[in-house]
């Protein structure tokens, strides 16, 4: 095997080392340029609240956990969590039936209570609708809404089949208006439902009398004072008694509603879908609509309520689609709808139509969310754990460094530099992955990084032991490096592949924070391969040319005498002839 080589193979260690240097500089440059210099820390290191919600269909319904229904749940919870106003809170699906909610910084019970409730869907007739800000009585000087946000306009739609949209695209006007004025004017948030095969809608009837007077005083007061422009008011999670009137904000904060008791339950609307509108002759108009289907009970209820609403004038001819205590849409009704399918039309885009259909579908089969695992980590505990992790890392690194130097001598320095490079790369990637894929480093992740110190060092051991074996055989160091590398790199690749496989399986199998462990383990295995190939080997190749290493200095770790290398031998041919071998002839590479 050795006899076939005619000379050392030309490798380019300098190039590989330069490449590594460039990569490191590039990564750190990006870090400083974008301002992200520390990795995102998870709840258990920064303090905060984290809840894992497990979804289950509500008993007695035929709900199933599907990716769609889970996505809807995630949206609902995100709405709730965003209302807390905390940056970097995160709501994410985990696995097929879990949702993980992390809110750094806050660790109070309210957060936990907020996220766990089941979101229910109701259709409630609208009694009054107004600007989102707190209202003033007529005669007082109008003041702007609490946070100065724009309010919906009161312009009447141009045609009876108004093409006005649900709350999402209301236009601002800038002034709050007194309560009584609103009850007679038409708000912009209106859309006209039309049943599938009915004649064009007729004129609206005068407003019904008496409904306003039945509202309890506290509800009326709430209607006056509620400020829907603040995020806290739009947190949702407030499933008021469906049998009583209530006040609700529009989901996007552009209007405030006073609502009658629920007329139709969301569970009686089994399906809904977003479809393209077609005009009478079958021509596609390019507008979107939402078609909903009702079951028997739903059809009955809906028929009754639309009969009543159709007689009223706006806003009392609207019914609000209320999800999780927030009004998602408030279409107008212009006639009684008897059939089991109804359409909602308006200025829907494809996205908004699909959003509304999703809401209706989810409301049909709400999932019960149970809090499977919740953690509230105080900031001090988080700090302690971070401190502990760093200390463990420092100690671990120190121990490995000491051992490497003692056992491997000068080679130990190569191992140390390689570890340093690996650490630099890992840190930079951990920092940059935060903004890129939302990677947060938690305690388990830190543990993974520390364990990987050992695994990375192991790759060096494999290579160095191989080197030493080659030197024991009597090769010169240069030859030993090239020859030994061919063998060692296969072992390193195989072993790292096994580690990576294990980390990948772990990642998919772990639940909760320990996923971080699997992730960092896998990441560091990849970095290990890169470092061994692009840094350690080229460095050793370069060092083999120096006298300290190449000549086998006592402390270099490659001293043939210390390694017990056999005295240099001679080729077979000479022995056969019986000529004694000169004591120290150089063996060919």
């Amino acid at each position: 095997m050795a006899a076939s080589k005619s000379g050392p193979r030309r490798t380019h260690p300098g190039r590989a080392l330069a490449f590594v240097a460039v990569v490191v500089v590039a990564l750190y440059g990006t870090m400083f340029a974008t301002g992200h210099t520390t990795p995102r820390l998870g709840i258990d290191l920064a303090g905060g609240t984290s809840v894992t919600l497990t979804a289950k269909p509500i008993a007695g319904t035929s709900g199933k956990i599907t990716p769609d229904s889970m996505n809807e749940e995630v949206k609902i919870i995100r709405q709730r969590v965003n209302s807390l106003g905390v940056n970097e809170s995160e709501v994410a699906k985990q696995g097929s039936n879990n949702i993980v909610v992390s809110v750094p910084g806050k660790h109070d019970q309210r957060t936990l209570d907020l996220v766990g409730q089941t979101a229910l869907l109701y259709f409630r007739p609208v009694l009054a609708a107004t600007n989102p800000g707190p209202l003033v009585k007529p005669g007082n000087t109008p003041t702007p809404g609490a946070s100065g946000k724009p309010t919906p306009s009161a312009s009447a739609p141009a045609k009876p089949n108004a093409a006005a949209t649900p709350s999402a695209s209301a236009k601002p006007s800038g002034q709050p208006r007194p309560l009584t004025q609103d009850l007679t004017n038409q708000p912009a948030t209106a859309a006209t439902p039309a049943a599938a095969a009915t004649p064009p809608p007729g004129a609206s009837a005068p407003p019904g009398a008496g409904s306003l007077g039945d509202i309890p005083q506290d509800v009326q007061d709430k209607f006056t004072s509620l400020d829907c422009t603040s995020a806290a008011a739009r947190a949702g999670g407030d499933n008021a008694d469906p049998g009583k009137p209530t006040v609700a904000c529009a989901q996007d904060g552009t209007a405030k509603y006073l609502l009658a008791p629920a007329a139709v339950k969301g569970t009686d609307v089994p399906t809904a879908s977003a479809q393209l509108e077609t005009a009478a002759q079958g021509v596609v108009t390019g507008q979107w609509k939402v078609v909903l289907n009702l079951n028997a009970k739903g059809t009955k209820d809906f028929s009754a309520i639309t009969a009543q609403l159709a007689k009223n004038q706006s806003p009392q001819n609207q019914f609000a689609i209320v999800l999780d205590g927030l009004v998602v849409s408030a279409p107008q009704v212009s006639q009684q709808i008897n059939s089991s399918s109804a359409e909602i039309t308006g200025n829907f885009t494809q996205q908004s139509a699909q959003d509304l259909a999703g809401v209706l579908k989810n409301g049909a089969l709400p999932l019960a969310l149970t809090k499977s695992d919740s953690q509230q980590v105080t900031a001090t505990l988080g700090g302690d754990q971070l401190h502990g992790g760093l200390v463990a890392g420092a100690i671990g690194l120190g121990l490995v460094v000491v051992y490497a130097l003692i056992y491997y001598g000068g080679l130990g320095f190569v191992a140390i530099f390689s570890l340093v490079i690996a650490a630099l790369l890992t840190y930079a990637i951990a920092v940059l992955l935060g903004p890129v894929m939302g990677f947060t480093l938690n305690l388990a992740g830190v543990a993974g990084l520390i364990v990987s110190i050992g695994i990375t060092a192991d790759s060096f051991v494999v290579f160095f032991e191989r080197l030493r074996d080659e030197v024991r055989d009597g090769r010169t160091l240069r030859a030993a490096v090239e020859h030994g590398w061919v063998r060692a790199r296969r072992t390193v690749l195989v072993a790292d592949f096994v580690s990576f496989l294990a980390a990948a399986v772990l990642y998919f199998v772990s639940v909760g924070t320990v996923k971080g462990f699997a992730f960092t383990l896998g990441l560091t295995t990849l970095i290990d391969v890169a470092v061994v190939f692009l840094f350690t080997k080229p460095l050793i190749t370069l060092l083999a040319g120096t006298r300290f290493f190449g000549g086998g200095h006592r402390f270099s770790g490659l001293d043939p005498k210390r390694l017990g290398a056999r005295a240099k031998t001679t080729p077979i041919a000479r022995r056969r002839s019986g000529v004694p071998a000169p004591a120290n002839s150089a063996k060919e590479a």
Binding site: T380, V400, A457, V462, S510, G564, T569
Partner: protein, 388 residues
């Protein structure tokens, strides 16, 4: 260091050889005994599960000067709290474990308020972890699934990279590690949490890594074995284990050092939690994994391989050759070509091949660590070259 280096050299050349493969029945016996003890302990004592598996709540209060009695007192006032376990962790923190706390917000709130009042700590400064009862199930199911997937992938991969007999032996070694680790947890009563489970699964990856390092060398040594008559598969495998002994010990030591640091900090500074659970599982498991790679996986693979007809024939040829050499010892002769044949091939395999073939009675008796092999022929070599 030179002694260690020399030792490594002698292992490498086969001058020193511990008979791992030859004494396999001893190792099997030890392992079976340990496994039986583990299984008995699992059956009798079971595992001490953390609240992640049982469901319940854990509160931690950093209140220097607070006492266990005070906390217990505070909790007795909260209805529905039965048998809280209160411990002092470190000198500043109290850890309160309550089973069966429904994850309803109000109950947990009450508990925190009661604790806060009595211990003069704001409820917001009390850390809490509340786990529902079915969470643990989810973790266990996924862990089991992961285990099965991993074992399947391992067998597949090893069968391709090496061969299925070696894959089977490696699998047995992995299962062995698993049972022993779980047994230790059961015997000593360490707490099992999801971090422990992940640590145990990581061990499997690590043990496999270790086994692959040895298998790589075995493959190298046994590559062209069947055609010759130098040594049996078992001898070659044993040589491989010896040659990688230093490497195995080193890699295990180096891997254990950071884990020891984690354990020290996790158990010492932080007293509980993810770091300690992971580190403990890894520590025990890596020790078990190293043991099994050397003492179980390779000998078992050798046992399986030796049943092959090609290997059996090889064993016969090697035995025959040893008999022939034994006869030749009696008569002093010129060195035959066979010595020189051995001169230039794989140095490691050769040295040990010569050593093993020389040991009377084949592999089983090479258990004596020999530092100087009797080589009567060398005295007759005209070149006067010393052969160690």
């Amino acid at each position: 260091m030179s002694r260690a280096g020399n030792f490594g050299a002698r292992l490498y050349r086969g001058d020193v050889s511990y008979d791992f493969v030859g004494r396999r029945w001893l190792w099997y016996g030890i392992s079976i005994a340990v496994i039986v003890i583990s299984l008995i302990s699992l059956g009798a004592r079971g595992l001490h599960l953390s609240i992640d598996f049982k469901g319940g709540a854990v509160y931690s209060v950093k209140a220097p000067g607070a006492s266990v009695a005070q906390a217990t007192d505070a909790l007795s006032g909260v209805p529905g709290v039965v048998d809280p376990i209160v411990q002092k962790v470190g000198d500043q923190t109290l850890r309160i474990e309550i089973g069966d706390v429904a994850s309803q917000g109000s109950k947990s709130d009450e508990i925190k308020k009661a604790l806060g009042q009595k211990l003069h700590v704001a409820p917001d400064n009390i850390g809490a972890q509340v786990v529902g009862p079915s969470w643990g199930n989810e973790i266990s199911q996924k862990a089991l699934l992961g285990l099965l997937i991993f074992l399947g992938l391992v067998v597949l991969y090893l069968s391709i990279a090496f061969e299925w007999k070696m894959a089977l032996a490696a699998m047995v070694a992995l299962v062995h590690d698993l049972v022993i680790t779980v047994g230790v947890y059961s015997l000593v009563g360490f707490e099992v949490s999801p971090a422990t489970v992940i640590g145990v699964l990581t061990i499997l990856g690590y043990s496999l890594y270790d086994t692959v390092v040895v298998y790589d060398k075995v493959k190298e040594n046994t590559r062209n074995l069947a055609g010759g008559a130098r040594m049996t598969y078992s001898q070659a495998a044993n040589l491989a284990v010896n040659q990688t002994l230093i490497r195995s010990i080193n890699t295990s030591l180096i891997a254990l050092l950071p884990i020891a640091a984690l354990l020290f900090v996790g158990a010492g500074l932080l007293h509980a939690g993810v770091l300690k659970d992971l580190a403990l599982a890894l520590f025990i498991g890596i020790a078990a994994g190293t043991y099994s790679s050397i003492f179980i996986a390779t000998p078992l693979a050798a046992t399986l391989k030796e049943r092959e007809p090609a290997m059996k024939a090889l064993a016969r040829r090697v035995a025959a050759r040893q008999q022939a050499e034994g006869r030749k010892k009696a008569a002093p002769v010129e060195p035959s070509g066979q010595d020189l044949d051995e001169g230039q091939a794989e140095p490691a395999a050769v040295r040990a091949g010569a050593g093993a073939a020389n040991g009377a009675g084949g592999s089983a008796s090479a258990g004596r660590a020999q530092s100087a092999r009797p080589r009567p022929k060398s005295r007759n070599r005209p070149s006067g070259k010393k052969r160690r």
